[in-house]
Symmetry: C2
Subunit: 179 residues, 2 copies
């Protein structure tokens, strides 16, 4: 799985091959295909594996934990690179990750709305409902990752995300997550 993550980070999914993944783990392509019969099967396994790793029990995610997750992500550029590359590729026609991402983003927006509702109730300080604000949080997470991956010295992803949370919470004094 880690080898697949690395190969996708380096070449993207379309540029990756089962042969390259197999070589990296010292298997024959045949041997790898015993576990993952197709490149698509390997891709889906990688995507689901990440969600398993990063999943929190329902109701345990909070806005301040989200900021910590961004900080944590800044220390594992390989994983972020893989998923940013896959998200980008997924908007091309017939990409095997497209269904996964479409469905995932639907779920992520819903759970983000719940996080916002737990923090702010039915209206955020700026007046948005949790459902209207949820896609903005998700977009900020994704968008900052691209700028940071391209130029880590110029963009402090964790600091920028905290700036955004402060805006959501009605800055200047409404830093989110404090209680």
């Amino acid at each position: 799985m880690r080898a697949a993550l690395e190969v996708i980070a380096e070449r993207g999914y379309r540029g990756a091959s089962l042969a390259a993944v197999a070589e990296r783990v010292g298997l024959t392509q045949q041997g790898l295909m015993h576990h993952f019969p197709t490149k698509e099967a390997l891709l889906v396994a990688v995507l689901e594996e990440r969600d398993r790793w990063d999943a929190l029990p329902a109701g345990r995610l909070r806005l301040d934990l989200l900021a910590s997750l961004v900080e944590y992500n800044a220390m594992r550029p390989g994983v972020i690179q893989t998923f940013s590359a896959l998200l980008g590729e997924s908007v091309t026609e017939g990409h095997p990750a497209r269904g996964f991402f479409t469905e995932r983003y639907g779920r992520v927006r819903e759970s983000m709305a719940e996080v916002l509702r737990a923090e702010y109730g039915e209206r955020l300080p700026g007046g948005l409902t949790p459902e209207r604000a949820a896609p903005l949080v998700v977009a900020m997470l994704d968008g900052l990752q691209y700028q940071w991956l391209l130029d880590p010295g110029s963009v402090d992803m964790a600091e920028a995300f905290r700036d955004f949370l402060a805006l959501l919470g009605g800055a200047p004094d409404g830093s989110p997550g404090g209680s």
Copy 2:
């Protein structure tokens, strides 16, 4: 150029071929290579062409025009798909668009900071400097595009971006760009 945009939107850059672009415009691959000797040369031409089309004279961009640009983008999914796919791929190793995007984002953040300074002066209503807020605006634009491309029925990119601008401008009543 339009054929190249289409082929990249469908297959990504790594999946695209000069042969596919040539076929779409009724040229031999030889004929196409007379104008663009390599796939990379065609890619760079496409990237620069878009910036030429969308460029405004220095100092003419304003926050409210940015909201209009998002509305306009929502009517040309092909162009947005191409550039979102390329941005995604560009974070993989040695991708020929990486330098272009890194350099472009540096410029875009700078010009965004100028736009914010023209609108709000040295501090935005939420307390951020224009330089701290600029990457957030850029990230929101990119991030919303992915959610919208994956599921246009669920995400209203233009409305969501206006929501974000209102937050930046110190909502509830600070809708930006009005004067």
